[in-house]
């Protein structure tokens, strides 16, 4: 995973060079990867040392806080599919 998410932000689909992906170590927990969307919200994931993942979306009322959503392996597959719809990357 760490290999996929570079610091270049190249993972952002159609937004070239916008919102660099920030990598923040969380000692004893894992690593947080996030970026700031064009609208100014933080969006990313927390990858636990155990392999669990949580999606995080910042709260507009408090930019320091985030709402998190645990993602199972199959949720990740679905999320990737959903995000690819209509972008030309979709298999459907």
């Amino acid at each position: 995973m760490a290999g996929l998410v570079g610091r270049s932000g190249g993972n952002c689909l159609s937004v070239p060079d916008f919102g660099e992906i920030e990598e923040t170590p969380l000692p004893g927990v894992g690593v947080r990867y996030d970026f700031t969307t064009e609208q100014g919200n933080r969006l990313g994931i927390v990858v636990h040392d155990s392999g669990e993942r949580e999606l995080l979306i910042c709260d507009a009322a408090d930019p320091d806080a985030a709402r998190t959503l645990p993602l199972a392996q199959r949720d990740l597959v679905r999320l990737r599919e959903v995000l690819a719809i209509g972008t030309g990357d979709s298999d459907r």
Partner: protein, 402 residues
């Protein structure tokens, strides 16, 4: 003869079984109430202490309890890599210093005010200093705060406290055996060099220890790791660097995949022995003494909840976090737990100030139980109106709390 031994063994099984079952019920209750189990183990120990069960004062429980401390520290060390420690030390050292400056002196001053000998007061300083890594780290996950901006600062405080213990515990261990200040400084120097060697080795040569422990068989990993930890803990104890610190350093030296595997394998053993450790600590406390120290413990708890809130506030402010996040960071750090009991336990083992154990138990009970309630408080506050929210929040697609 054989029958007599058999009935004695049966009695031991029955008594230990009943006690462990009681701990299990405590763990269930704590899980249902979303409380830290440490508080409930202490409560169960206090109740059982007045029942006078012979098996509990036996060698088995005492040994299991000391193994609990070693494993607590070993698994804590396993959670961190040398890189993480170095990085946190570099980025957050001022926060760690502020944490020590704000939370260690209140305990010392309080002990001296109570008329204790200086060494007992220094131990009480340790009790008030260290937040509970276990309670805080778990709460961050449970409350969904791992994505928050203040969280790295909160975790850094925990990391630096654990690191500070590699110097504090040897200092205490050496002072407790009455070696004097010079010998104590020698112990600290030994611990410092050991820590430096482990950090440098781990940073330079990767996981040397890892290759020693790694094996496809789980049993092989379990037994190698456990044996290695006990040997290093024994050497550390012999050198008066404290067994726990030795175990912590072995944990640091192990990283990567093998560290995860070892942690998963040893966690159940740690849980069992740590439960017995908290129980054993509480068993030695006279329940009447607990009533005498209830008021001082409450005062100390309130005062050092305040100093911890200040610590978190400062740490989060340094990370550029707003006021709400600072309040969250401060309140999250309030709970004290396993380390406070480990430190107080050292004093009990050495026959120091009789009030230390009951005071520490009451103090930890208050903060381990009230802390998790306090840390939910910032989320319960109404959100700021959007127009007062800082710049980052101005987007039209406003995500609102339900």
């Amino acid at each position: 003869m054989l029958a007599a031994v058999g009935s004695e063994t049966a009695r031991a099984y029955l008594e230990l079984g009943a006690v462990i079952l009681a701990l299990g019920l405590g763990a269930r209750l704590s899980s249902r109430l979303e409380l830290s189990p440490i508080g409930l183990y202490l409560l169960i120990g206090l109740v059982l202490g007045s029942l006078d069960i012979p098996q509990l004062s036996g060698d088995f429980v005492e040994f299991a309890a000391s193994l609990g401390v070693i494993l607590l520290l070993f698994l804590l060390g396993l959670e961190y890599t040398a890189q993480e420690l170095a990085e946190n030390l570099r980025r957050f050292l001022p926060v760690g210093i502020a944490d020590a400056a704000l939370n260690f002196p209140p305990g010392v001053a309080f002990g001296l005010l109570l008329g204790w000998e200086p060494l007992a007061a220094v131990l009480l300083g340790g009790v008030t200093w260290v937040s509970s890594s276990g309670i805080v780290a778990k709460a961050l996950g449970d409350l969904g705060r791992l994505g928050n901006r203040e969280t790295p600062a909160v975790l850094a405080v925990l990391v630096l406290e654990d690191l500070a213990m590699t110097l504090y515990l040897p200092l205490i261990a050496s002072l407790l055996v009455g070696g004097g200040l010079l010998a104590a400084l020698g112990s600290v120097a030994a611990a410092l060099s050991a820590a430096a060697v482990v950090l440098v080795l781990a940073l330079r040569y990767g996981s040397v220890v890892g290759r020693l422990v790694e094996h496809r068989s789980e049993e092989a990993v379990l037994l190698t790791a456990l044996g290695l930890v006990l040997i290093v803990a024994g050497i550390a104890e012999k050198l008066q660097v404290s067994a726990g610190v030795g175990a912590f350093l072995v944990g640091i030296a192990l990283s990567g995949e093998v560290a995860h595997r070892t942690r998963a394998l040893l966690a159940p053993i740690r849980d069992f022995n740590a439960a017995l450790f908290f129980l054993f600590f509480a068993l030695q406390i006279d329940t009447r003494a607990l009533l005498d120290v209830a008021a001082p413990a409450l005062v100390l708890a309130v005062a050092t909840a305040g100093t911890k809130i200040a610590t978190g506030w400062l740490g989060a402010a340094r990370a550029g976090v707003g006021r709400r996040g600072r309040a969250r960071a401060g309140l999250t750090l309030v709970p004290r737990g396993e380390f406070s009991i480990v430190i107080a336990g050292l004093g009990v083992g050495a026959g120091l100030e009789p009030q230390l154990a009951p005071l520490a138990a009451a103090y930890v009970l208050v903060l381990a139980l009230a802390g998790p309630v306090l840390m939910r408080f910032p989320d319960a506050l109404p959100a700021l109106p959007a127009r007062f929210a800082p710049d980052g929040a101005r987007g039209p697609s406003t995500l609102r709390r339900p």
